[in-house]
Symmetry: C2
């Protein structure tokens, strides 16, 4: 209303009878400019509400103060917490976050990368799709001097900094807890063998069994392909109907654990008395399901914050060389589904 056209440096210079460059330097307190001039210019700018044209600044400096964030799936509790952390951390440093999703489709991921690269982004945070193994599209990014950081779902075939969950340790602690509670025949519904996180969790599972000398049976390990409720249900049925059924089941994720719980309830098997159930990820559903589900919290928010801070630092230092990997510790959340020893509150 009041101001129609935005005020530019040129306007200030004309009005104050100085050159544009003097105006520019005065505004940032450059030592070449006298205190008096600085004062006058700053006063004028403030009074007339001068705001630098960001588009022009970005153009000149060849950067945007935007960072790109690609996740497989936005409507997903874990990833939305990561995004939330990324946005909050970026905001603190004056960056915006442009979000995109790959739907676990490589082609969509490549397209998103291209779009980001073509324009609007100073750096990239990415959690890759299930279909991504190399990473040429991410390499393009690095080749243009724009840093890339992988988080959570990563590929080791591309040498970038990484922020990951300590899946191995998380799984180890989860299984150790089951052992501590007294379960001694522990099965594992694992994820796809091409996915690194799944392998790490499986390794943690095996290590714990070995360290505490518990029974290990290859047929107690089932590989989930889709990571959904139904697989949990079906595999649990298989396991419980086998000759040597387990008395605890450690699941690749809470959703699978939900299927496990559904089967066990249907089959009249008591949780946690007869069979303990452990999830992974600590989604909202873990609190809600009955019995409530023990799980491993991944601190998604912290992952988002850490990855974003690393990225922005690399952007600002033009650093695309270093390749450190940060592991965010997990946190075991014990609930009713594995609480054999003492069940203080009872189920609802």
């Amino acid at each position: 209303m009041t101001e129609n056209r935005k005020l530019t440096l040129k306007d200030i210079a004309r009005e104050l009878n100085i050159s544009i460059s003097t105006a520019s330097r005065a505004l940032k307190g450059h030592p070449d400019i006298s205190d008096e001039t600085i004062r006058i210019v700053k006063e004028y700018a403030l009074k007339h509400n001068y705001v630098p044209n960001v588009l022009a600044v970005n153009f000149r400096k060849n950067r945007t103060f935007n960072i790109g964030l690609i996740v497989p799936e936005l409507v997903h509790h874990f990833f939305s917490t990561v995004i939330s952390g990324a946005i909050d951390a970026a905001k603190k440093k004056g960056y915006n976050v442009i979000v995109s999703q790959s739907n676990d489709i490589l082609q969509d991921e490549v397209t998103a990368c291209r779009t980001f690269l073509a324009s609007s982004v100073d750096g990239l945070l990415i959690s890759i799709s299930n279909e991504t193994f190399e990473g040429k599209h991410m390499l393009d990014f690095i080749n243009e001097g724009k840093p890339v950081i992988q988080f959570d779902k990563i590929t080791d075939q591309l040498d970038t900094p990484k922020v990951i969950v300590d899946d191995f340790e998380g799984a180890y602690q989860a299984v150790k807890h089951l052992i501590d509670e007294g379960y001694d025949k522990i099965a594992h519904l694992r994820g796809r063998s091409e996915v690194k996180n799944a392998n790490e969790r499986a390794l943690g599972y095996e290590k714990a069994l070995k360290d505490f000398k518990r029974e290990f049976q290859p047929e107690w390990i089932k590989e989930c392909k889709l990571i959904n409720e139904e697989e949990g249900y079906v595999f649990t049925k298989e396991l419980m109907e086998s000759e040597n059924p387990p008395n605890a089941i450690f699941c690749i994720t809470d959703l699978v654990a939900l299927g496990v719980i559904k089967y066990l309830k249907k089959a009249g098997i008591n949780i946690p008395q007869q069979v303990g159930v452990m999830g992974f990820s600590n989604w909202k559903l873990a609190e809600i399901v009955n019995p409530s589900l023990s799980s491993v919290d991944q601190h998604g928010y912290q992952i988002g914050v850490t990855a974003t801070e690393m990225l922005i630092e690399k952007i600002q230092n033009h650093d695309i060389e270093s390749h450190e990997t940060v592991e965010i510790k997990t946190n075991l959340v014990v609930r009713d589904s594995t609480r054999l020893s003492k069940n203080e509150f009872g189920n609802i």
Copy 2:
């Protein structure tokens, strides 16, 4: 690697012995340029992989192909579906989405608006915080010729286009369903009276009771302030211990309904036989909770798509005048918590 510096129009012009403007026009098939020249330029550009410098284009055209999206809370099933829809719709039109969250704090919302306005965004999609009543910060946007669209949580004090859930009708249908199932004493745990959605739902509730001539008791309406599980629990206790307890409870949202269910189970009251429970929003938890919760689906994805398409159209037409309101229809999802008549599958 291969190309160090990006190819510019200037390079093409030099190489082909034409002027920069001819190169520019040739690339977009301007009628002033001969077919022959167009062919040559396009061929050269393709061969050398010319990509226009987006920063320069944006600067020149004074737009960014980014749209801003502000929600109260990102880690929230409904809002993440909206965001997902917005991103997908934006991608189709060549726009990016920059996401921010207000945490239901007015100050954060204002700051986010300012950041977006100062720079990086051609238009704004916003679902306001609980603390927002006027909307001066959004007005600033409009005054700069950048369209704003409100969705879901809106204020009528600011005259913008709106995309909203048909809360009234959704609530009406939900209560009608309860009546159809045979419940005749229906309570409502409503939301805050300052929030429009909450009022609409309450009106739909009252209208249904009136239309079907069911008992209406002011003390059956409880106002939730925080919209959480605990309020559901506490109010249900109050209701059920009163002299005239209801036999169905219609809740402002699924989370409140979860508290209702917890109390009823604790108190040994059968769902749905003794008391029916109806949620609103159809979160993931509605499927998971036991008994599964009937709810009203809000089609968040569709809201995101619709709002984004409207916004982009307004951006492209420089239209900040029209102020139409679009209502997205809801969809009743019946589950066990209200299935009095015939319970085919039984609870798990």
